[in-house]
């Protein structure tokens, strides 16, 4: 095994088995809510759960082939979704969208009643 193989093993392993879960751990727990021990446990657990689930679902639904590119995109996609959810919570997008929908719904009901 060459040095490149070892580096690929370590960083590739972290990319699949740790990074997506790390991103998702921030979706479930804010930075201050848990310490690094919990985050490490969650990062590995979530990555090992989410990555095969996503790949299998994509393969089943869209017959996505499991290649290096599709795997990289899936893992990056998981990280991006987590980032969007974190930002949505931080800036209250989810609440504001929900409130807008609620207002629109009540308006339409009022107009129907009148």
């Amino acid at each position: 095994m060459t040095a490149v193989d070892v580096l690929r093993l370590i960083f590739g392993g972290l990319f699949v088995l740790f990074i997506p879960g790390l991103a998702w751990s921030y979706v479930f727990f804010l930075r201050k809510n848990i310490d690094w021990i919990e985050r490490i446990a969650l990062s590995f657990g979530l990555s090992i759960a989410l990555v095969p689930l996503s790949v299998f679902w994509l393969n089943w639904l869209f017959d996505m082939k499991i290649t290096l590119l599709s795997t990289l995109l899936t893992v990056c996609g998981l990280v991006v979704i987590a980032a969007v959810l974190i930002l949505a919570r931080k800036y209250g997008w989810a609440n504001s969208t929900f409130n807008k929908l609620k207002t629109a719904f009540s308006r339409s009901q009022k107009s129907q009643n009148s």
């Binding site: 990319f15 446990a41 657990g45 499991i66 990289l72």
Partner: protein, 535 residues
């Protein structure tokens, strides 16, 4: 008067603990083994612990400094224990590595697709899709082949369990209990045996089970859904165990979110289960049928390959009394949490011998470790003045005693076949045609399957076995080359016979002395070539 008796019982408890631990230590060191049934202590010690335990008020314990460093040290220790056998021999421990290697290679060779339709039934029965799909991805991205996953990922994940065990225990019972639980896990003989048996899926199942319990306790139901789904695609027995844990939790809490989480899990695992519905249903209904039969007849069938409960109590005796103390504490304080149900349900499955009960000792041991940490923390370490020192000494004595059988196992663990015998299997791969059959005993078959890349004929295993048990028995017991020839006639040439020369391996080599057989390899293992027309 009542108070005085309680005080005497309370003081006797610490002395009794020290005596108990010294007795077990002497036995484990093989210095002195009294003719007493040590398991009685499991019941006696909690009785003496009761007065102190019931008076205990809620702890005002705050965080412990440097806890990350402590957990990292425990993790490294657990990792080193698991790498010692690897340093002694490159051949993995356990009976299962061949099955795992074959399955991982089967999936990897089918890339970029998932070979669901081409899988033989035994793979579908033994391996839910989660692990082979995961190893496909580590292969594509990290270049980790099946052997890298077997050699490095498996011990790493085994040691990694230190983190979720600490997390779950600390979350419910405080950081000191968390550290004790992590320590107990690292020195646990049972958990080290999981490694020597090569129960890869079990280790992943425990990771998800612990995180699911953590999520349930934290009321993070989306996280719980993901972990529950992961259990469903990685390890069915622990999936079933968590489903059982959810039932009393739901009945007590009446949280609608638990129902939504179950529905969410069902949706997430649909593509995995729908393609194997009959097999998964067969496994589940088989477990239920086994449970019913065992309840009615008490025969204890279908326990799975692992040591039995009696053996477990012998090796876990140092911390079992404290687990019972922890369980009694939760019951007395009416803390009906997920860990309590985890202990009760897994204990019922194991002790009542319902189904797969020997294998359920593995999660039971985790529940025992968590509650033992609670028992140790609350009755030994939560003391004042000089008794605190006595409690700490008892704690150290306990860990020392618990690690001795594990150290013995680390030293004595050896692969089931030698390096030479594995080289003989690899010789088959390099020197026989790709369409060759290899006949092997049940002991040798997984190694031949995993390392030779050839079709393996073995009693009761794999899709190439064409015979019933009685026919195999007749083949094994005969010395007659003609009978052996007739048995092998149903297969086309080229056909080889692999036999590793080990004490507990039997094939009856006399039958291969006729003109139809020729030795082509003989070094630690014997390989015969069979030719229908003779040599």
């Amino acid at each position: 008067m009542k108070g005085k008796i309680a005080r005497i019982v309370e003081l006797s408890y610490l002395q009794l603990v020290i005596i108990f631990l010294i007795l077990v230590l002497l036995r484990e060191l093989r210095v002195l083994d009294f003719p007493i049934y040590y398991q009685y202590f499991i019941l006696v010690l909690p009785l003496f612990a009761l007065p102190h335990l019931l008076r205990r008020e809620k702890s005002s314990e705050t965080g412990i400094r440097g806890v990350l460093i402590i957990i990292l040290i425990i993790f490294v220790f657990a990792l080193l224990l698991r790498f010692v056998p690897l340093m002694k021999s490159p051949v993995p421990l356990g009976y299962d590595p061949g099955y795992y290697r074959y399955t991982m290679d089967f999936y990897a060779s089918a890339l970029p697709q998932i070979p669901e339709a081409d899988l033989p039934t035994w793979i579908k029965e033994m391996y839910p899709q989660g692990l082979p799909v995961l190893t496909d991805l580590t292969y594509i991205v990290a270049g980790a082949d099946a052997m890298d996953n077997i050699r490095y990922l498996f011990p790493f994940l085994g040691a990694l369990l230190v983190f979720p065990i600490f997390t779950v225990t600390r979350n419910i019972f405080g950081p000191r209990a968390g550290i004790i639980a992590a320590l107990l896990y690292a020195v646990s003989y049972t958990q080290f045996e999981v490694f020597t048996y090569f129960y890869f899926k079990n280790v992943l199942g425990l990771l998800f089970l612990l995180l699911a319990i953590y999520a349930l306790d934290k009321e993070k139901y989306v996280l719980m859904t993901l972990m529950f789904a992961a259990l469903g695609i990685f390890h069915r027995p622990e999936f079933l165990l968590f489903a059982f844990i959810l039932v009393p939790c739901f009945l007590i809490n009446r949280r609608r979110e638990i129902i939504y989480a179950v529905l969410g899990t069902a949706i997430l695992i649909i593509p995995f289960w729908i393609t194997r519905w009959e097999i998964n249903w067969g496994v589940l209904s088989g477990a239920m049928e086994a449970a019913m039969t065992n309840i009615q007849t008490g025969e204890g069938l279908g326990g799975g390959t692992f040591f039995d409960f009696e053996t477990y109590t012998r090796f876990a005796i140092t911390y079992l009394p404290f687990a019972l103390i922890g369980g009694i504490y939760l019951a007395a304080k009416k803390h009906w949490n997920s860990v309590f149900f985890f202990l009760i349900i897994s204990a019922i499955i194991v002790i009542a011998q319902l189904f797969f009960f020997n294998r359920f000792i593995i999660p039971l041991d985790i529940a025992v470790i968590i509650l033992a940490a609670v028992g140790i923390d609350y009755t030994l370490l939560n003391r004042k003045h000089a008794w605190k020192v006595v409690g700490a000494v008892a704690g150290i004595l306990l860990l020392t005693t618990a690690i001795i059988p594990t150290i013995h196992s680390v030293n004595e663990s050896e692969p089931l076949i030698t390096e030479e015998q594995l080289q003989a299997v690899e010789w088959l791969k390099e020197n026989t045609g790709e369409n060759a059959y290899v006949l092997a005993t049940t002991n040798d078959a997984p190694w031949v399957l995993g390392w030779s890349d050839r079709r393996v004929i073995a009693p009761g295993l794999f899709e190439w076995d064409l015979y019933e048990k009685e026919e195999w028995d007749a083949f094994f017991s005969t010395d007659d080359p003609e009978t052996a020839k007739q048995f092998l006639e149903r297969y086309d040439d080229p056909l080889y016979i692999y036999y590793s020369v080990n004490e507990d391996n039997y094939l009856g080599l006399e039958k291969f002395e006729g003109k139809y057989f020729q030795i082509v390899y003989n070094n630690g293992a014997i390989i015969y070539q069979y030719r229908e027309g003779g040599f």
